[in-house]
């Protein structure tokens, strides 16, 4: 089974049912209160208000599982408890408050969905989602001859760069190059280490982009996530090739580490969002 197939099977939106729970519990509680009041049943309206409290907790959960957090949705349970812990003297006022609160929660749910993206999807332990997963799978055959020690160095180099520890990157990358020597791996992996060595040193010293810098060759292109841009500067001096070389090097090392060093996957998982951002950039 391919990685893409696995991802598709596990990628059904787990939050969809929870999203329905917000209006169902909030309006359901209010509807139950209206029914009880019109039927003359004398119940403590705090029981019906519990629907709003539950809906608030669900909304907060939906906000929590998104990579981008919505502080308004996250704090709704606090407001629910403040509003409904102490009952109002008037039943009509309580019911109106419940209805208004239910409307507010529904508006916040729509806002959460439109402005704060989709919920993070739980994957199988050995798979990656989206374009990153497709790319990692594409590079799998090329990683079959990679020594595990070199793959581990690829993971360490990638993680050091992701963490902004630029002074350590050249040390780890040079060790990776030595470990790749004579392994029969595609030269693109060594080039990726060299590019990170050079670019981390430039970033560490905050030096300007040099005129000449390490790049992938056209022969490496089959293993790269991004096509090689033309080596021409824009009018304002911006050189897209420099940034593309870094993106490709980071992604190639991430893929090599993921495919050939299973022990490093928990660490690589912590930088999955970063790698996804680089590939989708």
């Amino acid at each position: 089974m391919s990685q893409t197939e696995i991802t598709t099977k596990t990628a059904g939106d787990p939050a969809a049912l929870w999203e329905w729970a917000v209006p169902v519990f909030s309006f359901g509680g209010a509807a139950f209160a209206i029914l009880a009041w019109t039927s003359g049943i004398n119940i403590d309206l705090r029981f019906t208000a519990a629907g709003c409290v539950i809906a608030s907790v669900v909304l907060a959960y939906l906000a929590w599982i998104r990579p981008k957090k919505d502080i308004v949705a996250l704090t709704t349970p606090i407001y629910a408890i403040i509003f409904f812990a102490v009952p109002l003297d008037d039943a009509v006022a309580t019911i109106i408050l419940e209805l208004l609160y239910a409307v507010s929660l529904s508006i916040l749910l729509v806002r959460l969905k439109s402005r704060f993206g989709v919920a993070a999807i739980a994957h199988d332990e050995g798979t990656l989602a989206g374009r990153l997963g497709d790319y990692v799978e594409k590079t799998l055959p090329a990683c079959s001859t990679m020594p595990p020690a070199a793959a581990h160095k690829a993971a360490v180099t990638f993680m050091r760069y992701a963490a902004g520890e630029y002074a350590d990157v050249p040390i780890e990358a040079r060790e990776g190059i030595l470990l790749l020597d004579g392994s029969g791996c595609a030269p693109a992996f060594s080039t990726a280490f060299e590019i990170l060595t050079e670019q981390a040193a430039i970033t560490e010293k905050s030096r300007p982009v040099p005129e000449w810098y390490k790049q992938f060759l056209s022969a490496d292109e089959a293993l790269l996530a991004r096509p090689l841009p033309p080596a021409t500067k824009k009018v304002d001096g911006y050189n897209a090739g420099f940034d593309a070389a870094l993106d490709n090097a980071l992604l190639l090392l991430y893929a090599a580490a993921w495919n050939a060093s299973a022990a490093d996957r928990p660490h690589l998982r912590t930088a999955e969002a970063f790698a996804t951002r680089v590939i989708e950039g």
Partner: protein, 174 residues
């Protein structure tokens, strides 16, 4: 207003609060002898509504002025896209265009700064030295933090934001 070498700015909100309470006090003192008898502490209390924000602003701005050279020395220039959760606590420098400014009236401006690779929020807990407007090309110094203390996407706790002399988008994005 300048105190020592520090340019102090009071937020619009603080001024609005002061003006509103001044009007309340004037109206109440005209209509009530009880209020007039309490003016000896009401008037100083009213001025504290201005003095306290000024003092806080002075303290935060002088603190920022002290730490800016440290960030200038230690921050690494990065592309916005490269800023991620693993960099929490790291000093960074970005160059980009101000796309949006929020909460300026609170003296807690949040600048949305974009370069060719993406955009990021730069939160500042006091007003910047320069008047920054949308579409200005700026250099931002700050530390990568979570948006909400311990959770949320990475944003920059901005220590310094200043205009740089670029007619177009930043030329050197790394």
């Amino acid at each position: 207003m300048k105190i020592g070498n520090v340019e102090v700015k009071v937020s619009l909100l603080a001024i609005a609060v002061f003006v509103i309470f001044t009007v309340f006090l004037l109206v109440a003192s005209v209509n009530s002898t009880d209020v007039r008898s309490q003016l000896i502490w009401l008037i100083p209390g009213l001025f504290m509504l201005l003095v306290i924000p000024i003092a806080l602003n002075y303290m935060s701005r002088s603190e920022y002025a002290d730490i800016t050279p440290v960030y200038e020395a230690e921050a690494k220039t990065v592309r916005v896209k490269l800023i991620n959760e693993n960099m929490i606590g790291k000093p960074v420098r970005i160059e980009g265009v101000v796309e949006k400014i929020r909460f300026r009236f609170l003296n807690r401006p949040q600048f949305i700064v974009a370069d060719r690779s993406g955009e990021i929020s730069c939160k500042m807990f006091t007003n910047p030295d320069e008047d920054i407007h949308e579409h200005d090309v700026v250099e931002v110094l700050g530390m990568v933090i979570h948006r909400y203390v311990a959770v949320g996407d990475p944003v920059i706790n901005c220590v310094s934001i200043k205009k740089i002399d670029r007619k177009t988008e930043p030329a050197k994005e790394r």
